[in-house]
Symmetry: C2
Subunit: 349 residues, 2 copies
DNA sequence: AGAAATTATTTGATCGATCAAATAAAGTCA
DNA sequence: TGACTTTATTTGATCGATCAAATAATTTCT
């Protein structure tokens, strides 16, 4: 038993043919019960494991999905993608799928990598993250009819109700809408917002969540609403500066919502009155510090991605046009409420 | 051109045999220059890509390494392994290696997964992280003669100079020794240490780095040294509590070193005098907050791991006993110095 | 130049599984 | 029972590459 047993060995041991062994593994339904049991016993007894590469060569599918690992990002929020990766790997495992990583230095380089993995039959499809408007990767993948799903809606160019590719995204609007509502229900009226410059689609989406919720309640004038908003690039120091700015401009605040945990952490530092601050992404830092935060539910996103990738479409839109299966999934984030538990601010004063 | 071209197509186009095409790719040296060029031209022209699974089936090697992705850890320091994964993927890519992820719910389950991937010829070897004393995984891998390298030295059982398996680790002692020295050189005398209970080997290692450096300098009495140390489990709140404790017990401090960034972040919160605090792991949080921290140099670790895995040993010790190649690598971490830049503490007072 | 040694290239077999088509066995109905 | 379906199982070919051994081309040496 120098090497692993093969189907032939199992077939011999069970007194059946190779194909029957194969059938027991792939379409157990068509094998008579007693035969199946005999084969299964032989498999167990010999410790047989199918040779993945051999199977792939023949079936032309790898049961593997590729995902790019972003280069190290110095920033708290990078961990969202890491958590997504965790979730994806776990969920994929349950479906017998493997996750293969790769790196790329630019979108163009990434396309080369996509091609390599696809041509080498290494993967059945891809999961794309960090998509952006006019993303060349999605265009290329569609043109080459390669199965893929994006984590992130197709910003800009696309009509949400008839997307050109499959996607899953988190509803940032809903997240901030809910966070705003929660603050309002807790009695807050003057709720500030620290967001990103409107070049980022994601940022606009979140901002509208807050803005709409404030409008709906209507207990703040339009002029005040403008004062309650500060725009800055992401970062802890930027958050601190923005918070100081906000307090100066808007006067007393009942609560502050931020577009990211980085900003929220920064804001909290310039927050002697302990105004409740809510971040976004529910990063480990938020948990550690005791910040409320909007959680992207990466688990649900991962499940949705795999759903679309393995589901009816097989990761592609073209070729299954009549289906009623949804072509995208908008995941509702959930608000995690915390109360600065970890921060005994008294020691600071 | 419905499907991808194969070696045969290339051979036909270049007017040579299959094997010559194969040689051009795998042992270019034995092919005459002009023939090689002709084949390379054909490859480029047809856009030929070798079929990975077919190659694997024949060669019985996959050019893929497996690594387990830990279940989501709620903690700041989890990101070290994520960063290691980034680095590993990048380095592996340079050597034409792929990284395949898997998950497991327990060490026992992990062994099952290891077996599956190995038997299916999915991977050539493994990288193990988070090893611990008496780890059943390493035992099993050695017994089954499967190539692997651990990130983490074999704690306890093993003799470092003659290890039973290949490993790479970061010298926590050196990290804290250097951090202590740096503080001393900056004029600090009373340098506190917030560490973990001594059940954790890693923690003891770091603690000794501080302790030894303090001893060497000798400007603090042994009695004082005891007062300068606080032990607690990991966590931000715990760090805050430990810092308060430390200030109470040890009186005035010149600097504080911590066994983790979580503790350091916590400590910083109970630090109105702005005593320099140094953490460990150089997590994004440390960067964001402006904490000094000991960086584990995951890039070097990744390079070392791949070195051992693909090097002379081929990931195994048995079978290459005479080699002078080192069987392990101890990576020196590097101290990243920051100055609370992101934290304008004035706003707190 | 011609034999021997070296280098370059080709041929047939093979890795381990599944597909497609053929055969055997079991079940159905007049 | 015998012809006719339906279900179960087997056989031969194949996926795309590389290995091992055979052949062809080239170089070396006397």
């Amino acid at each position: 038993m120098a090497s692993m047993p093969t189907v032939t060995d199992v077939a011999l041991a069970a007194g059946v043919s190779r194909q029957t062994v194969s059938n027991v593994m792939n379409s157990p339904g068509i094998v008579r019960a007693d035969t199946r049991e005999r084969v299964e016993a032989a498999i167990a007894q010999l410790g047989y494991r199918p040779h993945a590469s051999a199977r792939r060569l023949r079936t032309r599918r790898s049961s593997t999905i590729g995902i790019r690992l972003d280069p190290m990002i110095d920033g708290i929020s990078g961990s969202v993608l890491d958590r997504f990766l965790h979730a994806l790997t776990e969920q994929a495992d349950k479906q017998g799928l493997r996750v293969l990583l790769f790196t790329a230095t630019s979108p163009e380089d990434e396309i080369i990598q996509l091609q390599r993995l696809n041509d080498g039959a290494d993967v059945d499809g891809f999961v794309l993250t960090s998509t952006f408007a006019g993303d060349p990767r999605t265009k290329w993948l569609i043109e080459n009819k390669i199965a893929f799903v994006t984590f992130g809606r197709p910003w800009g160019t696309d009509d949400v109700s008839d997307p050109q590719h499959l996607w899953v995204d988190v509803d940032g609007w809903a997240g901030l809408h809910e966070a705003t509502r929660a603050a309002q229900n807790a009695g807050a009226r003057r709720i500030g917002y620290i967001g990103w410059p409107s070049s980022a689609d994601t940022g606009d989406d979140r901002r509208r969540g807050w803005h709409d919720a404030m409008h709906e309640r209507g207990d703040v004038t339009e002029a005040d609403l403008t004062k309650l908003e500060v725009v800055t690039v992401d970062g802890v120091a930027e958050g601190t500066a923005a918070m100081q700015d906000l307090r100066r401009r808007a006067g007393p605040l009942d609560a502050v919502l931020c577009a990211s945990d980085s900003l929220a952490l920064g804001a909290m530092i310039a927050n002697p009155e302990r105004v409740p601050v809510t971040g976004y992404d529910n990063t480990p830092v938020a948990a550690a510090i005791g910040l409320s935060s909007v959680d992207q539910s990466v688990g649900e996103v991962a499940a949705g991605v795999l759903d679309l990738l393995t589901g009816e479409f097989g990761g592609q839109i073209h070729g299954a046009p009549e289906s009623l299966q949804p072509r995208y999934q908008m995941i509702r984030p959930r608000l995690v409420t915390r109360a600065f538990a970890a921060i005994p601010m008294e020691v600071l004063a």
